[in-house]
C-alpha cells in the first residue's frame, strides 16, 4: 500500500509541478510577498508606523487564514476527481494496479506538498520583508514557525474536506465556495458552540489573542470563544482524518461517469 501511495504521489507531484494551475496559485500566493514589499516601502516613507510583527499578524488573519489556505484547499481538493473526469483521464488511473484508496491518499499528499511549498514560501518571505529592520531573534523564528504550522494544519484540513467534496459531488466548486467563503466566514462570529462548526474557529483558537481588544483587525476575534489549543489540534487532526477516510470510501465504491 505504501508503495502504491508513493507512486501516485510521485506522479501527481510531478504533474502538479508542470501544471498551469500550480503556476497560477504560486503567483497568487506571491501576492502576499508583493503586498509586504508595498507596505515595507510605505513604512520606509514614514506613512505606516505600526510594528512589523503586528502588520504580519494582520496579514496572517486576512490573507493567509481567511483567504489563501481556503482557496488552495478548495481548488486542489475539489479537483481530486472532477479534473480527471472533465479531462477524461480517469481511466488511465483506475485501470492501473493501484488501490483506489492509494490514489486518493497519493493525490492528497501530492497536492498538500505543492500547496505547502506555496504557503511556506509566501509566509516566510512576507514575514522577513515586514520584519527586516527589527532585531531578529530566535523567538521570532519560533513565532513564524508556529504560524506556519497553524496555517499548514488549516490547509491540510481544508484540503481534506474539499477532497471529500470532490469525490462526492459532480460540481464541488460551488458548494466549496459557499462553504469556504460563506459558512466559514460567517459562522465563526456566532456565539456559543455554533462557531465550533468551522475549521477557522480551531485555527483562530491556536493563534495568540493579541487583537481581541485592540488593533485594526480586532473585529476578526470578536465573539471568539476559543477552544483549548490541545483540543483544537486534536479536532483539526480529526477533521483531516475523517474527511480523508470519507473521500477514500466514496472513491472506492462510487462509479464515475463522463458527462455524455
Amino acid at each position: 500500500m505504501k508503495e502504491e501511495i508513493l507512486s501516485v504521489f510521485s506522479f501527481y507531484f510531478f504533474l502538479g509541478r508542470k501544471s498551469g494551475r500550480t503556476r497560477t496559485f504560486f503567483l497568487l500566493s506571491s501576492m502576499a510577498v508583493l503586498m509586504a514589499l508595498v507596505i515595507r516601502a510605505y513604512r520606509l516613507a514614514g506613512h505606516w508606523t505600526e510594528d512589523g510583527q503586528v502588520i504580519f499578524q494582520n496579514f496572517l488573519m486576512v490573507f493567509f487564514l481567511q483567504f489563501l489556505i481556503v482557496l488552495l484547499g478548495l481548488f486542489y481538493g475539489s479537483s481530486m476527481v472532477v479534473e480527471e473526469l472533465d479531462n477524461r483521464t480517469l481511466p488511465y488511473l483506475t485501470s492501473r494496479p493501484v488501490r483506489r484508496v492509494a490514489i486518493i491518499l497519493g493525490k492528497y499528499l501530492a497536492y498538500l506538498s505543492l500547496t505547502t511549498v506555496m504557503l511556506v514560501f509566501a509566509v516566510l518571505l512576507s514575514y522577513l520583508i515586514l520584519n527586516l529592520d527589527a532585531e531578529f531573534q530566535a523567538k521570532d523564528l519560533l513565532t513564524v514557525l508556529r504560524y506556519s504550522v497553524i496555517l499548514w494544519l488549516g490547509l491540510a484540513a481544508y484540503l481534506s474536506f474539499f477532497s471529500f467534496l470532490g469525490t462526492w459531488l459532480k460540481k464541488p466548486i460551488l458548494v466549496g465556495l459557499a462553504f469556504g467563503f460563506g459558512w466559514e466566514s460567517v459562522i465563526q462570529y456566532f456565539p456559543g458552540t455554533t462557531q465550533k462548526l468551522s475549521v477557522a474557529h480551531y485555527l483562530k483558537s491556536l493563534l495568540p489573542q493579541y487583537t481581541s481588544s485592540s488593533g485594526k483587525l480586532g473585529f476578526l476575534f470578536i465573539r471568539l470563544e476559543p477552544t483549548r489549543p490541545a483540543l483544537a489540534i486534536i479536532i483539526l487532526a480529526g477533521i483531516i482524518l475523517v474527511f480523508l477516510v470519507l473521500a477514500c470510501l466514496f472513491f472506492t465504491y462510487k462509479e464515475y461517469l463522463f458527462e455524455d
Partner: protein, 308 residues
C-alpha cells in the same frame, strides 16, 4: 481453448437509457472485434470488462476473477480508452513513465519499458515533445503505447484506429496482430467494417446494447451483399443515365433529384451495378460529376439487419 473473459447476463443502464442488455459471451485468446454503430454499447461493454463501470445486472470475470477494483487483474490488462484525453502538460516519455510507475517499476524499468513502447508505435523521435503538440494520429499511437507498455496479457482497445492515417492504421494493425501471435487476448471495437476485416475474422455484432450476431466476418459480408445499396450519381445527363440503367434486373428503384442534377439508384448487387456503370462511363458524352453511397455505413447495415 478456455475463455479469458467471461460475461454473464451483463446489463447496464444510464438512468432510463439502456447501455447494454443481457450480454453473455466468452472471449478467448486472439483478436475479437466488437462491431457496431456509435451508441451500440461497445464502449459500455469495454468499460465494464475493464472495471471502469459496474454492471447493474450480471457479472464479468477475467481469468476467473471479478474485475471491479481488482488490481491483480489490472496488472494483466491494458486499456486504450476511446476519448482523446491526456495529461497535456507532459511529453510522451513522461506520460508513459508516469503511468508505468503506478505498476511499481523502478525508474530504470519505467524508462526501458516506455522507450520500448515508443519504439513499437514509432514515436521515439517525438518522445520529448509535449503531448499537446502531437497530431491526432500521434495521440492515438501514444494512447496505444500506454496500453502495451507494461506488456499485458489482455488488450482492450476502444476504437484504436480512429484518427489514424492509412499508414498509421497499417502499423497499429500489424502491432495488434503481433500481440495475437504472441498468444494474447485482444478485444477491439470499431464501427468501421473494413478496419475490422483487416484485423480479424472473429467478430461480435452489437446493436442497441444487444449482441446481434457472433461469428465469422464472411457471414457479415454476405449480409452486406444482400443488403440493398443506395448509390447517388450526380451528372448533367442524370436522366439519360437512369434510362440506361433502368432495364437492369438488379436495379430495384430509381429516385430523381432534379434540383441537384442527381439520380439515386437502389440495387441489391453493388458489384454488377458498378461494372455496368464503368461500361457506361466509357461511352462518350456521359459525364459523371460525383458518385456517393448515402447508406454505405454500418448503421445502414444494422438498420437493415434489424428490419427497420
Amino acid at each position: 481453448m478456455s475463455a479469458v473473459i467471461e460475461a454473464r447476463n451483463l446489463s447496464r443502464w444510464y438512468g432510463n437509457v439502456l447501455g447494454i442488455s443481457e450480454i453473455t459471451l466468452d472471449i478467448e485468446p486472439g483478436i475479437t472485434a466488437l462491431l457496431g454503430p456509435n451508441g451500440a454499447g461497445k464502449s459500455t461493454f469495454m468499460k465494464i470488462i475493464t472495471g471502469q463501470l459496474k454492471a447493474n445486472i450480471g457479472q464479468v470475470r477475467i481469468f476467473g476473477q471479478p474485475v471491479w477494483n481488482n488490481r491483480h487483474i489490472f496488472r494483466r490488462l491494458g486499456f486504450c480508452p476511446e476519448s482523446d484525453a491526456f495529461y497535456e502538460e507532459l511529453d510522451g516519455l513522461e506520460f508513459l513513465t508516469g503511468l508505468l510507475s503506478l505498476y511499481g517499476y523502478d525508474r530504470k524499468e519505467c524508462l526501458d519499458r516506455a522507450n520500448r513502447a515508443l519504439e513499437l508505435v514509432e514515436l521515439k523521435d517525438a518522445s520529448r515533445r509535449p503531448i499537446r503538440s502531437y497530431s491526432r494520429g500521434m495521440r492515438q499511437r501514444i494512447k496505444i503505447a500506454q496500453t502495451i507498455a507494461h506488456d499485458p496479457e489482455i488488450l482492450i482497445l476502444d476504437e484504436p484506429l480512429s484518427g489514424l492515417d492509412p499508414l498509421g492504421k497499417r502499423r497499429i494493425i500489424r502491432l495488434i496482430k503481433e500481440f495475437r501471435d504472441a498468444g494474447k487476448t485482444v478485444v477491439v471495437s470499431s464501427h468501421v467494417l473494413p478496419e475490422v476485416e483487416a484485423l480479424t475474422s472473429e467478430i461480435i455484432l452489437i446493436h442497441n446494447g444487444k449482441i446481434l450476431a457472433r461469428g465469422d466476418i464472411h457471414f457479415i459480408r454476405e449480409l452486406l451483399d444482400s443488403h440493398p445499396h443506395m448509390i447517388r450519381i450526380k451528372s448533367p445527363q442524370y436522366r439519360e443515365l437512369a434510362r440506361l440503367l433502368a432495364p437492369e434486373e438488379y436495379v430495384l428503384n430509381i429516385t430523381f433529384e432534379p434540383e441537384a442534377s442527381a439520380v439515386v439508384f437502389e440495387t441489391h448487387h453493388r458489384d454488377r451495378f458498378f461494372n455496368r456503370l464503368n461500361e457506361l462511363v466509357l461511352d462518350p458524352g456521359l459525364d459523371l460529376e460525383e458518385i456517393t453511397s448515402p447508406d454505405d455505413n454500418l448503421q445502414a447495415v444494422f438498420d437493415y439487419l434489424v428490419g427497420r
